[in-house]
């Protein structure tokens, strides 16, 4: 015999499909004869219905992409550090007395000897080094893997930074690449703004568009966000991702000027959904001008009969 008092938990678990078959059959039989428990069941089912009618959305694609990019970079850093540290640990076990200062001194001496006696090689390596590939590049982040002062044998890794010039239009993929990287990663806001000025005519390119979307969402400089928003405006009607970024700017950007431009960018995306967002903004934006601008666009949209 079931106690009605103890049934509530079982009822909830049954709604979640988490009771054993035999217990479920018992409970169903009880519910068929007990009005009080049947009412509890109905009530709990209604709660579950509300919860089921409001499922949590999947994460925003842009956020997921940012997470993947961050992780990719972290894994790259992690694995390259792992390689260097692994090699370094091996070298240390072979040469415990080795010190970076000693290594640096040897390296500098080696370069000096190399320059003073260009014909002299490193016999133990069996071939001449190939300095030509480095040209006039700046050398940075030197890591030593192996060193043997007795034989002059050295194994190391370093980064090169080579200044290069390019000229042409942004239709050249190499130039576009540099500009996209500048918008995305350069810490100098002035350079980002210059790059945005050029890229605004190339929004058909996917990489450019992604860089502009990212600038709208994340650039810390309001001028850069504004420029990126302007560049994307023409695509708002046809591209859901662009519309999403504009709405995000509309609702989240701390700069009222950017929000006003976002309102203007939505002019061509007339429709009930745009209207709903603008109405909300007209009532709730903290900036009066933004509220007025939204209200003006709402009233401009209504008489045209596009949203009723």
């Amino acid at each position: 015999m079931m106690s009605c008092e103890s049934n509530r938990e079982r009822i909830i678990l049954m709604i979640y499909g988490e009771v054993e078959e035999s217990a479920r059959l018992d409970l169903e039989a009880h519910l068929a004869t007990c009005a009080a428990c049947a009412a509890v069941f109905e009530d709990e089912r209604r709660t579950a219905g509300i919860l089921a009618s409001a499922p949590m959305d999947g994460p925003p694609e842009a956020l997921l992409q940012r997470c993947r990019d961050d992780l990719h970079r972290a894994l790259e850093k992690n694995s390259s550090r792992g390689r260097v540290e692994g090699a370094r640990a091996g070298a240390l076990s072979r040469r415990l007395w080795w010190s970076p200062a000693w290594a640096t001194a040897l390296l500098v001496a080696g370069f000096a000897v190399g320059r003073a006696f260009p014909g002299a090689g490193l016999p133990s390596l069996g071939h001449r080094p190939e300095p030509a590939t480095e040209g006039a590049a700046t050398i940075a982040n030197v890591d030593f893997h192996e060193n043997d002062p007795l034989s002059d044998r050295v194994s190391l890794t370093y980064d090169t930074l080579l200044r290069t010039s390019l000229s042409g239009t942004a239709s050249d993929p190499r130039i576009r690449r540099v500009l996209v990287d500048t918008v995305r990663d350069n810490r100098n806001a002035g350079l980002r703004l210059e790059a945005l000025d050029v890229l605004r005519r190339h929004v058909d390119d996917r990489d450019v568009r992604q860089a502009l979307l990212r600038a709208v969402r994340e650039d810390e400089n309001a001028g850069a966000r504004l420029k990126a928003l302007e560049a994307l405006t023409g695509r708002a009607a046809g591209d859901p991702e662009v519309r999403g970024a504009i709405v995000q700017a509309l609702l989240k950007d701390p700069n009222p000027g950017v929000r006003v431009r976002a309102i203007d960018a939505l002019k061509d995306t007339r429709g009930p959904e745009t209207l709903a967002v603008l109405r909300r903004l007209a009532e709730q934006d903290p900036n009066e001008y933004v509220r007025q601008r939204s209200a003006a666009l709402v009233s401009e949209m209504l008489p045209q009969g596009t949203v009723r």
Binding site: L31, E42, R46, T47, A48, P60, R68, L75, E273, A276
Partner: protein, 234 residues
């Protein structure tokens, strides 16, 4: 690395093996099999997108560093979610300790929830989308999310794993390294709190649209193998 988009899709077991032999590329492929759900759980459990990004990164880096310890005694997803849930609980507890950062107020239209919903509304251009109904649904969703956010962290976690991720309680118990009884109690308590928080919506649903919520319940919560709705209570 440069693995992305080059290597054809592989089975999870193969990717795990390669990742255990040190392939970061294979690991990234593995990440893509599960990261959407990881991020969704993190968003449910922490306060902001930034913190969810932190949880995502910490979880996968931790998984990457310790993948050699994965012995296949549970599914990879269970193993991964064990890492993720621990991090989520750590973050949630840290949040709870910060008294100076109150939960976002109800109706804060500049919060992430509204932004996401507004973006969804704009993107959804189907003719049947009705702004009034959509805003109504937005309100219900906001209330539910708010109520879930106010659950104690462990109950919130169990609720999220059951409701958002669709995991059975036995799998949740394995992830949380807890007894079935504990997990059942957590789900029961979470449901009761949500019931109390959403009581006005519950009565509105009962009065306005008889039977409208029930099919959703049946679809979402019907037990596997169950044939018909419960006798006598329709």
């Amino acid at each position: 690395m440069g693995y992305r988009g080059i290597v054809p899709p592989q089975d999870e077991g193969g990717l795990i093996g390669e990742a255990q032999r040190g392939s970061a590329g294979a690991f990234e492929e593995l990440v893509r099999l599960h990261d959407r759900e990881v991020l969704r759980l993190a968003l449910r459990m922490v306060r902001s997108e930034e913190e969810a990004r932190d949880v995502y990164q910490e979880a996968f880096l931790k998984a990457y560093r310790s993948i050699r310890e994965f012995r296949g005694e549970s599914s990879f997803k269970t193993w991964l979610f064990r890492i993720v849930t621990n991090l989520c609980l750590d973050h949630a507890r840290r949040q709870a300790g910060r008294r100076d950062e109150p939960l976002p107020a109800q109706g804060d239209h500049r919060g992430d929830d509204w932004t996401v919903e507004a973006a969804r509304l704009l993107v959804d251009r189907r003719p049947e989308s009705d702004p009034e109904r959509a805003l109504e649904a937005t309100e219900v969703r906001r209330r539910v999310e708010e109520a879930v956010r106010r659950l104690p962290e462990r109950e919130r976690l169990v609720f999220a794993l059951r409701h958002d991720q669709g995991l059975r309680l036995v799998a949740i118990a394995e992830i949380l390294d807890a007894s079935g009884e504990t997990v059942r109690n957590c789900l029961y308590r979470a449901h009761q709190r949500l019931r109390a928080a959403l009581s006005d919506l519950r009565w509105a649903a009962a009065g306005a649209a008889p039977g409208r919520a029930a099919p959703a319940v049946e679809r979402k919560f019907r037990a596997p193998g169950r044939r018909e709705p419960v006798n006598g209570v329709k």
